[in-house]
Symmetry: C2
């Protein structure tokens, strides 16, 4: 893994690009032309948990990208399909790593090419200050695992390079337990934050009064666990404990779905709650609470067209 292409330079993509550029040649496929121009002119600055400045080669045109061995797809849910369509028929030797929220990104990638795929889940977080400056806020782990018949050594090799670049990464033989833990956590927390306007704060763990938000979050977690059990997944972490721990961290995290709602942007509801509701239907498990949040967030998106 000498040459890496970061597909989508939001917070997570920028954190990967900024770190990996210390040990690899990094190219960046952007959605906007100006973003690529700014990265080529100024490089990428990382502040916060680690501080450095990276040189990258950026373009919004996939045919202008230098060859690479690994692509890390870190778009938003809504940017996945167009990004993978742009890569279709190109770079057949590359391995594609997906680090989107939710589940189902691998299937979208597979529909556009035969690349070996590595599944990823990341718990890093940061704040994007500009097209060329990202702040690294939570230096928590990224987990990688094989998708379909990708050899585990390929996963381990990518993980080792990321670790050498200063990131916290773990290679797991089966990522699904971690992916589903995060899916259920996100499906319980993100739409709730998006609909109430609350950052992920102590309200999410409160269960004193019958109307307290913690009951709702707990109910959502329990529904999600029933779906995971029906899908044959043993969870890596208990999503309720993840929720309680996260709310006790001191500074409340501002979930990206709440940022999307504030900015009236399309949210990641399809890859998160939508995926979970579809898995529930596939396994014939009732998921009324997730279905309700799914309809509410979609209704919210519809209200911006009205």
């Amino acid at each position: 893994m000498k040459r890496v292409c970061i597909v989508g330079a939001g917070v997570i993509g920028s954190l990967f690009a900024g770190h990996l550029a210390r040990v690899c040649e990094v190219s960046v496929l952007t959605r906007r032309r100006e973003h690529a121009d700014a990265l080529n002119a100024d490089g990428l600055r990382v502040t916060g948990k680690t501080e450095h400045r990276a040189r990258v080669t950026a373009s919004d045109d996939p045919s202008a990208l230098p060859a690479f061995e690994v692509a890390i797809v870190a778009t938003k849910a809504s940017g996945l399909e167009p990004a993978v369509t742009a890569l279709e028929g190109r770079f057949p030797e590359a391995t594609v790593v997906t680090v989107l929220n939710g589940i189902g990104a691998e299937e979208v990638v597979r529909a556009h090419g035969a690349w070996p795929i590595v599944s990823g889940v990341t718990f890093m977080s940061g704040t994007r200050h500009s097209d060329t400056h990202v702040e690294y806020i939570l230096d928590t782990e990224t987990w990688l695992g094989p998708y379909e018949d990708t050899p585990f050594e390929v996963v381990r090799d990518i993980a080792d390079t990321m670790i050498a670049s200063g990131l916290k990464v773990e290679a797991l033989p089966d990522l699904r337990p971690a992916q589903w833990s995060k899916l259920i956590f996100n499906a319980a927390v993100n739409p709730t934050a998006a609909l109430t306007g609350l950052p992920h704060d102590l309200h999410f763990a409160e269960e004193g009064d019958p109307g307290d938000l913690g009951h709702l979050v707990h109910g959502l977690v329990d529904e999600g666990k029933a779906v995971a059990a029906a899908a044959g997944i043993e969870l890596h972490d208990d999503p309720w404990e993840m929720n309680v721990l996260a709310t006790q961290r001191g500074s409340a995290h501002y979930p990206s779905m709440l940022e999307d709602v504030d900015a009236r942007r399309e949210t990641e509801i399809e890859l998160i709650t939508g995926s979970l509701v579809r898995e529930a239907a596939r396994h014939d498990v009732p998921a009324p609470l997730h279905s309700l949040l799914y309809a509410l967030v979609r209704g919210k998106e519809a209200s911006w067209q009205a």
Copy 2:
């Protein structure tokens, strides 16, 4: 019924005051001093379905009010307790009519005095253009019924006076079937509008795609009907049909709970969804969807303090 006091001059209170002043002496108890001053100086103007100008005597001080036979309490949920506290120990001869959304307002009134009580439900709607100008938009019915042992003739007498003033009013021997129909309708529609930002439009009746909002509204109605059945109430109208009919009316209604959320004001969630959730618990009927909306709207209110 010659002298009427309107308690709370929002949209509904102003519509009652503006009409009744044609056939009665009308006084108005306001929350704000400036509101009373404006009404005393300029009177009250009604436009829309009916057009007239009313002379009223207004005050924010209950001891300054002229005597009356009937008080119509039309405050918001959050204004009920302070308004009834202000009336405590006064006007023992008066009958008190409650026309708030939700259920449970009668119990709050009873806790402050022994007045005979008439329960009301109104389907009128309007827009408040200023402290002295209300637009009458939907001239739909108001229904009145006895609470506890209030004689039905008292209810009929009040209804007759309202009808003589130009309003559409029906006196019913038992209001609860109508009150519960409206409660379930409001509990399904208002929080959904408040959380999505959608006015009560066609989305609320859509049930094509599994993520459509109509499924959620239907599920909320079904839960509410199960609570009503357990409470021994036979509904006057089917809340789902009320919902479908209302969304087909052409111009989408903007529910007051959505207005409250837009203005970051305390909502009526307690008298609407809160009442329904408490009735569900009392009768041991599960109401997970209403509990979820209850927690979400309360979470939204909490976000304004954050």
